[in-house]
């Protein structure tokens, strides 16, 4: 296990009139080399959980373990953890601060005092990993990029630190369908080609059902469901009640349940839904004639 979260409580803005109990006894595990999606409505505690994993928030109760070691107990080195686990905040394009793409992505390697050649190699590799050709983009002004491109530059900046895992806070928020597909494909590539552990948050299962190995559903600071996307989608009605957006396929399956209550709604693709639905339909006229013909 890369991370283990054990019965964690955390209160945001503690001691002020705005105090909110963001995590209330949250327990979960993040396996290595897999994609874990943390799904929940707004205010469920998703972002707080990510920041707690990195030790940016210290739990008021419970513990966070990284490879079995409590991150808040000496001699654990939190700074070393943050070099091994990167984070891409929500709307990361807003936090690019250098003038050009090359300078922004090289910020991390330069801070690590790597040799220029090594740093250059990392920048090149990181930009190409996010689909931005190095020669074409290295001198481009950040201001001249589209929103989706800026987001990829921000991700390249984290990759250049050579992390083992990356946490993404709402990586698809605000992207159009094409940008969304490209970003999800990028996460998949990072997992398969670089063997990175990936954790992402989303308020929609539509984005993650085909991508995640494990889905953890968070509601009011607690884990209410977890498992493979299929296991979680079997509880579609409960998810809907929690204000979680379902994949279009699941919505259709759920709607058809008013006709056939036994219809499965843990279908991931149109093919699966078609096969499931056909089991309930009366034989088609043309099929019957085929059957009865000698």
């Amino acid at each position: 296990m890369l991370f283990e979260v054990k019965d964690v409580y955390y209160t945001r803005m503690r001691g002020t009139p705005f105090a909110v109990e963001a995590l209330k006894g949250c327990s979960l595990t993040i396996p290595e080399g897999k994609i874990t999606a943390i799904v929940g409505p707004t205010q469920a505690g998703k972002s707080t959980l990510l920041l707690t994993l990195l030790g940016l928030f210290q739990p008021s109760r419970g513990s966070v373990l990284f490879r079995g070691q409590d991150i808040h107990q000496a001699p654990f080195d939190l700074e070393a953890l943050r070099l091994r686990v990167g984070i891409v905040f929500q709307s990361p394009e807003a936090q690019l601060f250098e003038e050009t793409v090359g300078k922004d992505v090289s910020f991390g390697p330069r801070r690590k005092k790597l040799a220029p050649a090594q740093s250059r190699h990392l920048v090149q590799e990181s930009l190409e990993a996010v689909g931005l050709p190095y020669e074409e983009f290295r001198t481009r002004y950040i201001a001249s990029l589209s929103g989706g491109q800026k987001r990829r530059v921000a991700i390249a900046g984290v990759l250049a630190l050579e992390p083992e895992a990356i946490l993404f806070d709402e990586p698809t928020a605000g992207l159009d369908p094409q940008g969304r597909q490209e970003l999800l494909a990028l996460l998949q590539r990072l997992k398969t080609e670089r063997r990175l552990t990936i954790v992402l948050t989303s308020s929609s299962l539509a984005d993650v059902a085909m991508l995640a190995d494990q889905v953890i559903v968070l509601h009011e600071g607690r884990v209410v469901l977890s498992g493979s996307p299929r296991t979680v989608l079997a509880h579609a009605e409960e998810l809907l009640a929690l204000d979680i957006t379902l994949p279009e396929i699941t919505q259709i399956a759920l709607g058809l349940r008013s006709l056939w209550p036994a219809l499965r709604c843990d279908v991931l693709t149109l093919d699966e839904l078609e096969e499931e639905l056909v089991r309930f339909l009366p034989h088609a006229a043309s099929q019957e004639t085929q059957l009865s013909s000698p």
Partner: protein, 279 residues
């Protein structure tokens, strides 16, 4: 009525780089009280069309005429056009200018120089219409994306436009919130005769609109009722748009022998009704 007559528009500097015009020879008409979904791939010219209708940019060839006023006539008519065509941007943060919800709704009417009681009346009306009353005195920065998007719509509607243009309002907000927003907007169109032009990327949003316009490479590719547009599967696919999943499901079942199913199924209710008739 808005008339778009043979309009061509190119962004400055793009001709030299050999980039095709954003819009090319576009002709269409928008009638009062119509609800229209405008769909197309990235770069198909949807947002440019929205900006032309709201007189934010002017056509280089052809004309845009809003209730008899040409958008390129300048002077007083430009103000009238801007008042009758309200535009809501994709990202509400690009549009919201004040600190609190009430101030934001009042901003437009104040700038129209309306008397105080009239401004108050419109603010009250919008708070109810878009379910913003619980947040009336909240800071705009504390609202969720969905609430901000409703506030942007409220701010534009408070100016009583005759045409409401929504430029991909559902990109930034979760699915069910988007559905509620569209339902509210369509209700307004029915009750007040406002025309709505909803720009979207999502095929599944088309079903509930009177009319669908499909754009591709700066031109109008298809224009008609949702059902008639969805019959053109191949043209849509060439424009990078797949049929809604529900329509695809219906067609797959038809192909497997349930040939009495309609060719184009638009909504879940249609699908259920069609499947029930098989039972």
């Amino acid at each position: 009525m808005i008339e778009v007559n043979n309009v061509t528009f190119r962004y400055s500097g793009e001709a030299e780089e050999g980039i095709a015009p954003a819009l090319e020879e576009v002709t269409l008409r928008i009638d009062e009280g119509e609800t229209i979904a405008l769909i197309g791939h990235n770069g198909s010219g949807k947002s440019t069309l929205a900006r032309l209708l709201a007189a934010i940019v002017l056509p280089q060839r052809g004309s845009v005429i809003v209730d008899g006023l040409r958008t390129d006539a300048g002077g007083e008519s430009l103000w009238q056009i801007r008042q009758s065509v309200g535009l809501v941007f994709q990202n509400p943060d690009d549009q919201l200018v004040t600190n609190t919800v009430i101030d934001e709704i009042a901003f437009g009417p104040e700038n129209l120089g309306l008397p105080r009681f009239e401004i108050e009346e419109r603010v009250e009306e919008m708070l109810d219409l878009l379910d913003l009353r619980p947040y009336a005195r909240h800071a705009v920065s504390d609202l969720s994306q969905g609430q901000k998007q409703r506030l942007a719509v409220a701010g534009v509607l408070a100016m009583r436009p005759r045409y409401l243009i929504l430029d991909e309002p559902t990109t930034m907000i979760p699915g069910h919130t988007a559905e509620q927003l569209l339902e509210t907007v369509r209700r307004l169109a029915r009750e007040r005769g406002i025309s709505v032009l909803h720009i979207t990327h999502h095929m599944y949003e088309l079903a509930d609109f009177d009319r669908v316009i499909v754009m591709n490479r700066g031109r109008v590719l298809l224009d008609g009722t949702p059902a008639s547009v969805l019959r053109h599967r191949e043209e849509l696919e060439r424009a990078g748009l797949g049929l809604p999943l529900i329509t695809q499901l219906g067609q797959r079942l038809r192909a497997r022998g349930w040939s009495q199913l309609p060719e184009v199924i638009l909504t879940l209710d249609d699908l259920k009704a069609a499947l029930c008739s098989l039972k």
